[in-house]
Amino acid sequence: MSINGGVAVKLVNLTKYYGKFLAVDHLNLEIYDREIFGFLGPNGAGKSTTLLMITTVLRPSEGTAYVYGVDIRKDPDRVRQMVGIAFQDPKLYWVHTPYEILYWHARVCGYSSSEARQVVKEVLTRFDMWEARRKRAFELSGGMRKRVEIAKVFIQRPRLAIFDEPTAQIDVSGKHMIWEMIKELRDEGSTIILATNELYEADVLSDRVGIIYKGRIAALGTPQELKDTIPGGDVLEIDLDRPPSDEVVRRIEAEPEIVEVRRMNQRIRMYLNRVEEVLPRILAMLMESGYRVKRVDMREPTLDDVFLHYTGVKLVKEE
């Protein structure tokens, strides 16, 4: 399927200065064909700037990117044949209506006029925007404007679909609908880049996540890989029928995945990696030693823990 060994997008030292300010700092990254790539980072990390360069809307200051092997600097026209983007801020001219905007967009993307009418109706209906199709852009609510913006990509169905914070401002049921539609698009063969600062969105939707901070990639991998890379990121608590002996604690500490063990009366709290592998062994050992397990509690690290680990700051402010 892929013409380029499974790589859809390749960033090579991709850099953007705004004046003297370095917004995107020599990014090197490969995004694979037909994956949902989550681009996770806080405000001002450089997500949008990077995406705008990939779509050839912004010119890189240094470096370049290849979209299915085509250099964005050398052949931007061919790149744009393959790329569609839903911008972070909806780009709608105030006098136009959702129907006009999407119909024109469909025509530009190659639909005949009758096909365009049909696809626009389908997509507007799916986005719950058919009723509002004749309102002007300035009469739409923020979430409605965002829906129109995203609908463009679902009409275009490009080989590389880029969504810049697609569910910001969208209500909960809308969010789920959009996530479903993004997955469908991937399953149909598109590669997806999804910029977000929502942990949950990045976690449930992405095949791989790139954490971006201050214009650099801080970490890269599947959500699970990223969580597993944090030393002692998992927390396991076991309540026993009596306080554990020193011998038991020593044996737990001997497990290679264990980072730290704390004894609290009848409770043992362990900071460890890959809890799902370690837990059966520890339970077996405890039962062998004659303990009765009364309660097991474990917590996986979140992407926020990953973020904290790699950047030293938290993405989500503690309550």
Partner: protein, 252 residues
Amino acid sequence: MILRHLLLVVERDFRLLIEYRLFLIIRWLWFGIQIAIFGLAISQLVVLEGYINYYAAGIYVATLYSAAMFVAVDISEEAEHGVVDYLLSLPINRNILIIGRAIGGGLRSLAATAPPLVITLLYVGVRNPYTLISAVAGLALLSFGVAGLAITIVSLLKSGAKTDILLGALDAFVIRLSTVFYPREFMPEAYSAAAAVNPLTHASEVFRWALGLPYEGDPIFSMVMLLAFMVSMTSIGVYLYEKRMEGGGWTS
């Protein structure tokens, strides 16, 4: 695909016409007022027979020029809504995008000034169908060229306020340094030299020739000048756009 994209871009810009109903009516009234008051008043002063007709033809050309320049205002307003970024992200060749916008803006300006044009034609009277077609072609070349110039200016300035100021300044110069209001023989030498190369001069003279009014120079030469103006404006627009244009960075 190229032609299809060109037509879509042209159509998109042309359709904006409908949004300007009120604005258009004001513009048409202004045209009428200019002729009624200034035209008549100045006729008393200028020693040129039938000056009111001469003036009407000129003021139409000036109206067309302002309408085509107004394309810049649209584009900068669109840009403030981020629409320029959207257009730049589309699978449309950038040259086609600019040429399409110049043609669309040009056609829209012609359509927007159609009533004053028709009134002028009816009131002054056109010589024959051949001159009519030539006049409309000449005016269209001016309109496309000015729209191309407007797009270039706004893309380079990337600011609504700066665009407004520059358009105001240009308006004052470009119209005065042309034969819109009076023939070159009445101008100081420096003015006259500038007027000789001003596309507004050539459009005015072609138009006057078609209307059977006193005109200067050779209508065919003027047509060539207008064609050269349009081609060079769109080429410069395309070239600068490629060099300088990118999304973002627009200020009000």
